[in-house]
Amino acid sequence: MPRAPRLRELQHELETLLSLGGDPDCEQRLGRAAPSLPIRSDHRLDGAARLAIYAEMIFIRIRDAVTEDFPATRAAIESTTGSDAWEPLLRAYLRVHPTSDPDLRRAGRDLPAYLRAACTGPAAWIGDVAELEWALVRAFEAADAVPLAVADLEALPPEDWPALRLRAVPSLLLLEHAVPADTIHRRLVDGEPLPDPNEAGCRLRVWRQGFTVYQRRIEPIEQAALARVLHGTDFASLCEWLAERVPEGEASQTALRLLQSWLADELLAVEVREA
């Protein structure tokens, strides 16, 4: 038997009604439901009007939080569907993915997946843009790590290099898009014309260096190598893997070039050993 059964029943009813904020028929549905609820009315506001205050505020608060994290996605929706299309899309999204996380900033967590399913055909690229924007948010608040420095490697005896564990910083994310998502994203944010949708896709790495989030296009070989680092590998294994994929004799050079780039961008973290 649940505790506070009357309260539980009341909260279930209210939660359904207060989630209607932004819906075209919100006012009518609140008007029909309010008389049966134990809500006080007075000469200024009846029960439905009081419910509507909450319903509207709830929708606006969540809408604003999601919009802040997805400025380019919003611009994409508005440019393809209409200048008033963003709010209806968010209402539809929230019906499928009601917010559950205590942190309001996670309200848009499922939007990329939702858009991948909702935006198909010529508009499929909108899901890519949303995915990139959410990756930027995730990188911003990923766990801190002490970056591996050139000096750390210089201090390493040559015989220890093969067993050197390569560990990515927690903010590193790899993305692969069938469209030039980075260019589209930048142009949407800047309000510039979009590139040709038939332009080649891109592979991206997103990461945080200090407190700044970066994104950069990478070649397939770097993407695959970083994927191995993310799954956990050591330097010798990475060189062996590269040797099978680059022209003969270039494995060490490629490994060194990638390593230098990753160190410069602080993509690798110092391994924390358990005491």
Binding site: P2, R3, A4, R6, L7, R8, L10, Q11, H12, L14, E15, L18, S19, P38, I39, R40, D42, R44, L45, G47, A49, R50, L51, I53, Y54, M57, I58, R61, I62, A65, P98, T99, S100, D101, P102, D103, L104, A107, F140, E141, A142, A143, D144, A145, P170, S171, R208, F211
Partner: protein, 291 residues
């Protein structure tokens, strides 16, 4: 006064002021950080909070505990809150007397409860379990509300005072919320404040609201209203030297504007208690030119 330090006058820690706070000392005594804004794994906000905590007392103020929901307590949330408190050692941890969702959904609003014995028992039991999980006393705030329930058998102030006693928790008295709710539900704000047990009131909140004719909205996007300053003075006379915080969350102004609002609270505090509130008050008074 409850068993908490007399902190003086503080302001909310907001993103807009991060850069400035890393460069200069603010003319306030302490900061209040929204707990959920720092429940992340890493990044700049945590770095800023660390720096602020080095220089000022900090309290953690949550918006998603949902102490009044009939859902089970969110153990993951409580673990994060406990870890945050262990890391930043806040003077106290507060949240709201409300519910924010049910069936696993979070509406991200501070929703009112019916003030009944059944609900009092329900909330008091949950406060006890939260305090056990956190290993510390919880401070609960009265919310602004826009609806009330016809089956309430207690007033909000009777409920809050009884809850504090029954659950052995403290109270964050939001004077602006009292004013807003008093207007919206047509009760006497002084009755609310006079019913607060002084030994339980750990903190006062002050904020701005907006007038929509039929109702007031607790918008936190404006200066504290004149009538709320008057109510604050009354609360200080009634409750003693209660640490006070200025909240400003919408259209957050420059830090100087917040400091000026805190200064006004300091003046009201001094006019009631005849002394400067907190360390920043003393420092500011010492550096002010003679009249």
């Amino acid at each position: 006064m409850p068993r908490t330090a007399a902190l003086g006058i503080g302001i909310g820690l907001r993103t807009r002021h991060f850069g400035e706070l890393l460069e200069r000392r603010a003319r306030v005594d302490w900061f209040e950080a929204i707990s959920e804004n720092f429940m992340m794994d890493g990044g700049r906000p945590l770095h800023v909070l660390e720096r602020v905590r080095r220089d000022y007392p900090v309290v953690l103020h949550g918006v998603s505990l949902s102490i009044g929901t009939t859902d089970p307590l969110d153990r993951t949330y409580l673990a994060k809150l406990r870890a945050l408190a262990a890391r930043f050692e806040p003077t106290w941890v507060s949240d709201h007397l409300c519910w924010t969702g049910v069936r696993g959904h979070n509406l991200h609003d501070l929703l009112p409860l019916p003030w009944t014995e059944e609900v009092l028992e329900h909330v008091a039991e949950r406060v006890g379990r939260v305090q056990d999980a956190l290993g510390r006393r919880l401070v609960l705030e009265n919310v602004s509300s826009y609806l009330s329930f016809s089956d309430s058998t207690l007033s909000e102030w009777e409920f809050l005072a009884a809850l504090a006693e029954r659950a052995d928790c403290d109270i964050l008295l939001d004077v602006n919320n009292v004013y807003v709710s008093a207007f919206n539900h047509d009760f006497d704000a002084l009755r609310f404040i006079d019913a607060m047990p002084p030994e339980r009131v750990a903190q006062i909140h002050l904020a701005g609201h907006s007038d929509h004719g039929t109702h007031l909205l607790d918008t936190h996007d404006a200066p504290v209203a004149s009538a709320v300053w008057d109510l604050y003075a009354h609360a200080l006379r009634r409750l003693g030297r209660v640490p006070t915080l200025i909240e400003w969350d919408g259209d957050v102004p420059p830090l100087e504007r917040l400091e000026a609002e805190a200064e006004r609270a300091r003046e009201v505090f001094a006019s009631v208690h005849g002394a400067e509130a907190g360390a920043a008050g003393k420092a500011h008074a010492a550096s002010s030119p003679a009249a």
